[in-house]
């Protein structure tokens, strides 16, 4: 390990004062010169937490309001910057045992405008459908009793008065989508919907003008109401996952410590860092940006970037990548833009290629629409021609033809798939799988081959102690106490392994080397093998014993140093999950950027025959393409920056929440937690969902097979249309709900499991759920 020291001044600054946060960058202006701060909070689970936080922050002078959003675990604080320092707000949150992190306001997605618009349309169409239905029922009952033609006309005119503006407003999303599709010379589900609604309205208006007995205003509005309901639920589910993903991203702390020209340190959101800025990376921190090391030397854990588990040395002039984890030394990094030739530029180029090359997956719903539209429209045309030949006047024939269009109006068909999607996405959410892409469920269902990345996906992202039983427990306990005083990732892992709670005293940091401290009256050192004077022979021996491990040494006074080997271990349920996936009929492969010995070991334990080590991003894509050429549908599961291109290239992909940012945004879904089981759950839910989607489509086909002949025969009245439409919608929705039986989460799978810490009786929590 390197013995180069960092700038002494820099180290003093690190030790003395934590960096000041640039609060203007984290907050937005509010009324009366106040500022608004959005916090992501860990551990909000119930109403008691909400009360604690709101009361606790409210007592702070200068806090104008604090409001907890229980649904998305965020707190909005409005404060007066003249009276209270935002750091005090964070300190108060810490004291309340709800550690919080500020949102970068530039990154927060505004409350989805689509979802609000759909809700407004839903309200309008609901109002219209209910009121017009009341008038329609009066007309229907009047038609079989003694309604006067004047009253009927009056009712029809009132219906038109309500229905025309309501349809004009509520159908706008469908019209826009249908027009866009036609411009692309394609047909989607919105095209038949639009035609159906337009014709129903037109026919009803003509009927009203000609004093006919029947009008279809209620059908058009009801159809819109049902469809908007499905669409709103779909959108809402997607938004919920997006919000959850955003909160998780903030809790993972994407901020950087910028070195100001005057030497001061300021913590800023990563989005505010510009090329040319200097950024300080302290020991144990994640490198926030890509750049070139200016001063300092350290070792970097690059497993998240390359999959390589043995730390890499860096010194002045070396390139470092966002997502790598710093070791013992402090680094000052000059931020570079993603220049050509760097790893990140190469990865971004590959992602771009992969995404444009990815053959557009045809959604099941669009496939159905492509079959549906020509069949129904030609059936309507034939009906018209047929009745004309049979001798009916042209306007009566047209009425029957339009009735065919209305009754087949794709209510069941358009709800069949969204209904299943909403239930499936909800199931996945409760099992800790957040979907990025709406049609990922359909693609997941077709998977027959699963390719895993090794580091961070099959193995834990943090290293753990190899063979803890072989180490003297007392030594381990003392070493852990010293380790607790250090921020080095290996030291942290050691502290965890030793179960230390109280750090050692009189700690002195030796940047780039390790820490020295007093523990139980003895001077002890923890750090690199050089720092603890481990002999060359011993070093080689340890390395041959554990070729994939990283080492940290501990020495008490002049005693013989103890070497701890830390390596990434398989996730607890990796073996069981891989076996279960194989039982589901999937072939398993491992593609890793790590060295062959490390990959071979994992492959042996998991009984995986197909594995490739030392894979580059490009060779990973090549392997995926080879599998695709062999006719396989591949699910790629990976977390590293080097996996991002293959995640984008694979037909469907998953990424763990510990993964690199770029990998997560390239994947179709993200799963939470330290376990691998969500991969299996995702596959099971997707397959069940796919089955139900097909089932629902068949239900819709059967419904049409019954309804169309009735309509062609000319027996469809508005009453029949209303009953058939709501009946078929109900059936497909109830069928979709059967998915709730699949993959019930074993435990409440809310991402923040801190329920025990809540001072609320279990019964109340139960009802809250």
């Amino acid at each position: 390990m390197s013995t180069l020291a960092s700038e002494p001044g820099m180290v003093a600054a690190v030790a003395a004062t934590p960096p000041r946060r640039d609060w203007d960058a984290f907050t937005t202006a509010d009324a009366d010169g106040r500022r608004r701060l959005m916090l992501a909070v860990e551990g909000i689970t119930c109403a008691a937490c909400m009360g604690d936080i709101e009361r606790g922050l409210g007592r702070l002078d200068g806090v104008a309001s604090a409001r907890v959003n229980l649904a998305n675990r965020r707190v909005a604080v409005v404060y007066d910057p003249a009276t209270v320092d935002p750091d005090a707000i964070l300190a108060r949150m810490e004291a309340l045992h709800y550690p919080a992190r500020p949102f970068d306001p530039t990154g927060i997605a505004r409350p989805s405008e689509t979802s609000r618009r759909l809700l407004r349309c839903l309200g309008v169409s609901g109002f219209g459908a209910m009121n017009v239905m009341l008038l329609s029922v009066s007309v229907w009952s009047g038609n079989v009793t003694d309604i006067t033609p004047e009253t009927r006309d009056f009712f029809h005119w009132m219906s038109a008065l309500v229905a025309i503006p309501c349809v004009a407003y509520a159908a706008a999303p469908f019209y826009e989508s249908a027009i866009a599709a036609i411009r692309r010379r394609a047909v989607n589900m919105d095209v038949p919907i639009t035609i159906g609604v337009t014709l129903a309205m037109g026919l009803s208006l003509v009927n009203t003008l000609t004093h006919a007995h029947e009008a279809f205003f209620d059908s058009a509005l009801m159809l819109l109401f049902f469809l908007l309901l499905g669409r709103f639920l779909d959108e809402n589910m997607r938004r919920r996952t997006a919000v959850e993903a955003e909160t998780l991203a903030v809790l993972r702390a994407d901020s950087a410590v910028r070195v100001e020209p005057d030497g001061g340190l300021v913590e800023v959101p990563v989005s505010r860092v510009r090329p040319g800025d200097r950024v300080l990376v302290r020991p144990g921190e994640k490198v926030p940006v890509d750049g070139r090391v200016e001063t300092g030397a350290s070792e970097l854990d690059t497993s998240l970037v390359t999959g390589e588990t043995v730390p890499a040395r860096v010194g002045a002039g070396d390139m470092v990548h966002a997502g790598t984890v710093n070791g013992f030394g402090s680094l000052t990094v000059t931020v570079t833009a993603a220049a050509d030739g760097t790893l990140v530029a190469e990865i971004e180029r590959l992602i771009g290629e992969a995404e444009s090359a990815k053959s557009a997956h045809l959604r099941l719903a669009d496939k159905a629409a492509r079959l549906y539209a020509p069949v129904v429209h030609s059936a309507a045309a034939l009906t018209f021609v047929g009745w004309m030949i049979a001798g009916l006047p042209w306007n009566d024939s047209l009425v029957i033809a339009i009735a065919v269009l209305i009754i087949t109006c794709p209510c069941a068909l358009a709800l069949a798939i969204p209904a299943v999607q909403v239930v499936a996405a909800g199931r996945l959410f409760r099992n800790g799988v957040l979907l990025n892409a709406g049609d990922a469920i359909e693609r997941l269902a077709a998977v027959d081959t699963i390719v895993f990345d090794k580091t961070g996906t099959l193995t834990t992202p943090e290293p753990t102690l190899v063979g803890p039983d072989a180490v003297d427990a007392d030594v381990l306990r003392r070493a852990a106490a010293v380790a607790l005083a250090s921020r080095h990732p290996l030291a942290r892992a050691l502290a965890k392994a030793g179960g230390a709670v109280k750090p050692a005293e009189q700690v002195t940091e030796h940047p780039g080397e390790g820490v020295e401290a007093m523990v139980e009256g003895r001077t002890a050192r923890l750090g690199s093998l050089d720092f603890c004077a481990v002999s060359q022979v011993r070093r080689l021996m340890e390395q041959s014993l554990n070729p994939t491990a990283s080492f940290i040494a501990y020495r008490e006074g002049a005693a013989e140093p103890v070497v701890f080997a830390l390596a990434q271990t398989l996730k607890a349920d990796a073996k069981a999950t891989v076996a279960a996936l194989r039982k589901l009929g999937c072939a398993i492969e491992i593609l890793s950027g790590d060295r062959a010995e490390a990959v071979a070991e994992v492959a042996r334990v998991l009984h995986v025959d197909e594995w490739i080590a030392e894979a580059t991003p490009a060779s990973k894509i090549a392997r995926l393409n080879a599998l695709k050429a062999a006719g396989r549908t591949v699910l790629m599961v990976g977390d590293g920056l080097n996996d991002a291109p293959s995640l984008a290239a694979a037909p469907v992909s998953l990424s763990p929440v510990s993964g690199a940012h770029l990998a997560q945004s390239a994947a179709d879904a993200v799963f939470l937690g330290e376990r691998l089981a969500p991969v299996r759950v995702a596959l099971e839910v997707a397959r069940a969902a796919r089955r139900l989607m097909t089932e629902n489509l068949w239900i819709a086909v059967v419904y049409n097979a019954i309804a169309v002949p009735v309509a062609v025969a000319g027996h469809v009245t508005p009453l029949v249309a209303a009953l058939a439409m709501s009946g078929s919608s109900l059936i497909v929705t109830v069928n979709a709900l059967r998915l709730r039986r699949v993959a019930r989460p074993a435990a409440p799978a809310r991402p923040a499991p801190a329920a025990e810490a809540c001072p609320v009786p279990a019964t109340i929590r139960e009802t809250a759920r």
């Binding site: 009361r55 649904a71 409350p111 109002f127 009341l134 008038l135 006067t148 009056f154 009132m158």
Partner: protein, 47 residues
Amino acid sequence: MSILVYLVPIALSLGLLGLAGFLWSLRTNQYEDLDGAAWRAIQDDDL
């Protein structure tokens, strides 16, 4: 039945009132946190 000429528009305007109420509640962000609102009602703020 000429009373309908008054009653139907009255009924419709009552419906419109309901719609206006819904749009107002939407605009004032009352659907942002459905879980929290239920608990807020029984919070003892004077403790």
